[in-house]
Point group: C2
Chain length 149, copies 2
DNA sequence: ACAAAACCTAGTGTAGTGCTATGTTTTGAA
DNA sequence: TTCAAAACATAGCACTACACTAGGTTTTGT
């Protein structure tokens, strides 16, 4: 039933959006996000760890610490974010880099999967974090905080 | 790591392509496809069963029976095929029909997921089985039949 | 009658998801 | 200099979905 992004990707994206919503330079604590988004903080820590190599996070350790964005949301590419969170985004395994499919040479569907892969990737590649912020509905009715996870 | 289509979808598509490659009206046996594509015939039967409600298959039972396409490949839509094989194609669960997500009203990412969903769907919706046949490479080197599954 | 095909259902090993538990290290404040 | 609060880190575990296998039944040509 999948062909789905995991919670890792969904939660990770939401975390980044929270950071982006903060005033420039101010720190946001992971625990607070976890509480507000109703996500286990231990789990969220793992997710955030996957993002660290990207270099888009500034972390301040110790009491009073927290996270902020190290780059502007306009410079944070969603394809790259998803690659770090999801690991890989190919719609079929034989397109994963490093993989070598034996059918390759005479596969009747490879061309199709390649095109689909490119189509999805190009969508993600064109997007930045800022664009997701911009596309948010203005009709945020706020108030209750019953979330799903 | 997924965000992947399952083998059901991949095998099912390959089965349909085999049928399409047959001369008009002639029958192709599932067992033969299974052997040639190196797929378990029991598993392929389950997959083919999922396609039956679509009405694109003509099955002849009994000895000497087999399958053929009940529609022209130009009239077989890939989105519909995938929906039958995969069950559902939403990149996130909360977009599945019938599902009601509690975050819906104030979700900062819903708009984004909706757009991605539409983007993938439109790609699949535009395609027919015939177009996949046409996009096959002509460089089919044939000969060896070492397949992966 | 028999074989060969389509048709059908239940069960099963494995991998990956979505966590929890349990730490260690860093740092500001008392 | 102790304490608490934060980031940082690793192992393990329950559950689900995937990818099958096993073992049938029904239909039909020879």
């Amino acid at each position: 039933m999948p062909m789905r992004f995991s919670t890792r990707t969904r939660y990770g994206l939401r975390f980044l959006l929270r950071l982006a919503a903060q005033p420039q330079g101010s720190l946001l604590q992971l625990g607070q996000v976890a509480r507000e988004e109703n996500i286990s903080s231990g789990y969220l820590e793992q997710i955030v760890r996957a993002l660290r190599p990207m270099g888009i996070l500034r972390a301040v350790r110790g009491s009073g610490g927290g996270y902020s964005l190290a780059k502007s949301p306009t410079d944070i590419n969603i394809e790259e974010v998803f690659q770090h969170l999801e690991g890989e985004i190919s719609p079929v395994r034989c397109l994963s880099k490093g993989r070598h499919c034996q059918r390759e040479a005479h596969c009747s569907t490879r061309e199709f999967w390649t095109e689909l892969d490119a189509h999805i990737r190009s969508f993600l590649h064109k997007r930045t974090l800022q664009e997701i912020i911009d596309s948010e509905k203005c009709s945020v009715t706020g108030g209750n905080h019953v979330e799903l996870h």
